[in-house]
């Protein structure tokens, strides 16, 4: 525990001492003041810049380089790793799974988020409801994995089911299922976890956005006799179009990097693997293959770039207004 304080203290004292020295130095004359200022810029920037360089910039170039090298990163192999990826059935399945995730999770999370935000608007217990639905956001993916694995728990047909889902199924007279081992459909059971988590994110952003809709507009529609459903689809959704897109892209970015849930629940077995899991496998299982792992990392980044770029663009636009 001692080392924890030491580590934090180190950074505080770095800034404090170096700045005190500069203050003392710079006060003596005007000529020194300018010099002091340029040194201070370096003092302020250096730690962050060094960290940025080592942990982000260098790895990007290194990963691109490694993707053209063999599994130990020693010999240049050209496009070999990329060709392997295109031909690899597991890679294709991961891409497909990722794609299904991208299609289902952001869409449903955004949809539920919007619906719940609307339902909870103007109700006295609305904020409690929002808290509850938002709560999974605070939990780790692994914790959520345990929670849902317990729900999907499977026991043989004769035994008492302790998993909620199977208990419900059995009470309706159907056979219990080992949900997370049914290829293809198991993806949806894993996605349910992510939707359960991310709906909260959509919800809080939407409930802020809902308040920005002019009251007069809604009142006018009500006086004209529009039903609440009609108002929801004809006024609220078009009005929030931008917000919907922003949230949709946000969740898309999170989903593109999804790793923990699948790692904890199935470890990519029963055909549930996605890109990040495949990459982890290639990087760290059985000695690792940095070439193939790097190719997969690049594929993930290429997937993220356009979405995040669009998102940042929107972010800037909103700030200008």
């Amino acid at each position: 525990m001692f080392i924890v304080f030491l580590g934090i203290l180190f950074f505080i004292s770095y800034f404090h001492i170096s700045n005190l020295v500069l203050d003392a130095y710079g006060r003596r004359s005007i000529k020194r003041y300018n010099f002091e200022n340029s040194i201070r810029v370096i003092v302020f920037i250096a730690p962050a810049f060094i960290v940025l360089f080592i942990f982000i910039l260098y790895p990007v170039f290194e990963t691109v380089r490694l993707s053209f090298y063999d599994k130990f990163g020693r010999e240049f192999v050209g496009l070999y790793n990329y060709k392997w990826a295109i031909g690899d059935p597991e890679f294709r399945r991961s891409i497909l799974n990722n794609f299904v995730w991208l299609l289902v999770v952001p869409t449903l999370s955004t949809f539920f988020g919007l619906v719940i935000a609307k339902l909870a608007d103007n109700i006295w217990w609305g904020s409690i409801a929002k808290s509850i639905i938002f709560m999974p956001m605070a939990i780790s993916f692994v914790g959520a994995g345990v929670i849902w694995k317990f729900i999907y728990e499977y026991r043989g047909p004769g035994d008492t089911q302790i998993g909620l889902l199977n208990a419900i199924i059995v009470s309706f007279g159907y056979e219990p299922q080992a949900w997370i081992t049914i290829p293809f459909w198991n993806n949806f059971f894993l996605m349910a976890i992510m939707i359960w988590i991310q709906t909260g994110l959509a919800l809080v952003i939407f409930s802020a956005a809902l308040r920005s809709i002019p009251k007069e507009m809604l009142e006018a529609a009500r006086i004209d006799g529009a039903s609440e459903l009609k108002i929801f689809f004809s006024i609220i959704i078009p009005y929030l179009e931008q917000t919907i897109l922003v949230i949709w892209t946000l969740i898309t970015i999170i989903v593109l990097r999804i790793f923990d849930i699948i790692f904890a629940m199935t470890n990519g077995e029963w055909q549930t693997g996605v890109l990040a899991n495949l990459m982890y496998d290639w990087m760290f299982r059985g000695g690792g293959d940095s070439g193939r792992g790097s190719v997969l990392a690049i594929v993930i980044m290429i997937g993220v770039i356009p979405i995040l770029a669009w998102n940042l663009y929107k972010h800037r636009q909103e700030q200008k207004i």
Binding site: F11, S38, F55, I56, S140, F141, L256, F259, A297
Partner: protein, 380 residues
Amino acid sequence: MMKKFSLSSILSQLLLLFFVIIWIIPTFGLFISSLRDKDLLSISGWWTSLTTTEINEIYRMPGMNAQIEEDGYFKIKGKLFEENSGKKIESFGITSKKINEFNVSEVAVFKDESEVTIDEDGNYEWRSKSEFQKKKGKRLFTTSLSPPSFTFENYREVLFKEGIGRAFINTMAVALPSTLIPLIICSFFAYSLTWMKFYGRDILLAVIIASLVVPLQMSLIPILTIYNDFGALFGVAAKSYPGVWMAHTGFGLASTTFLLRNFLKSLPNEMMEAAKVDGASHYDIFLRIIIPLSIPAFASIFILQFLWCWNDLLVGLVFLDQVPSEIILTAKLKELLGSRGENWEILTTGAFVSMTVPLFIFFALQRYFIRGLVAGSVKG
């Protein structure tokens, strides 16, 4: 308002209630399960523990070795379940075909004319005029009512025997510095990007924004190689706490700086200028003006980064050894999912322990959490 009582309003409240129930049930089930007796946990669903339930059990009485002679009878006495279990016997039977044949006060007579009585608390008395001859006793079929009963036994076991307690401390040792260090260096960084004039500032800002797109996975192998080389060069372990702190710092740097800069930019320029005219250095301005003004922003970013580090699995998995002194909660849970996948009392309790800190932050500081999350969802 009239509207409150309209049909559509009631329908929409019901729909909301439906969503709320769906959303709360998974966590609620986990919580209840972590408080249940571990034997019951593996044979019945958690929802049955909320109400008084009927349990059917089979009990075999001991044989001739347990008999005593009393009042002219040979007797075998015993108790069907432990003290304090709270169970109450409703009825019992002596054959598997009629398990509810007798009520508690009644006397059941076996074929060999020995008789048995059971009281509500599970005390039974099996008596016979002649001596018991068999090594094995007869079976009793009981139906009892079990009230909801909860225990902290699982928590005691998980915290001290399964190493979750240690993992909890490890996670704290990872998450606290991993949150404070980026906050410290990024606040200076963001300050200089906003209020200091120097060559290349705009390029640096563009680089920060560009690095938001770099997925964390990309950095793993190159950083690990650096750590290994560094460790070999100086003869220290490649995987260590400072290594994880710096990794988290690196991965959180771009988003933290981005958020802080957006906040600092919104502060009035005149204030800085006035302070400068009065002869304050940048460090004075930073300490006396920026920090006090930024407390809410710091709080949001702190919570966001702290939860991120607390809930992280991948970084802790890659940059720490998976040994008891270093393993973090999420990695430990993942390990337990593999090795103790059937021991639900350990899994549910462990998961709940790992959730305590996030849930506390969530309920205590929800406002800052939401603000940070909404602003900071660009995190890579």
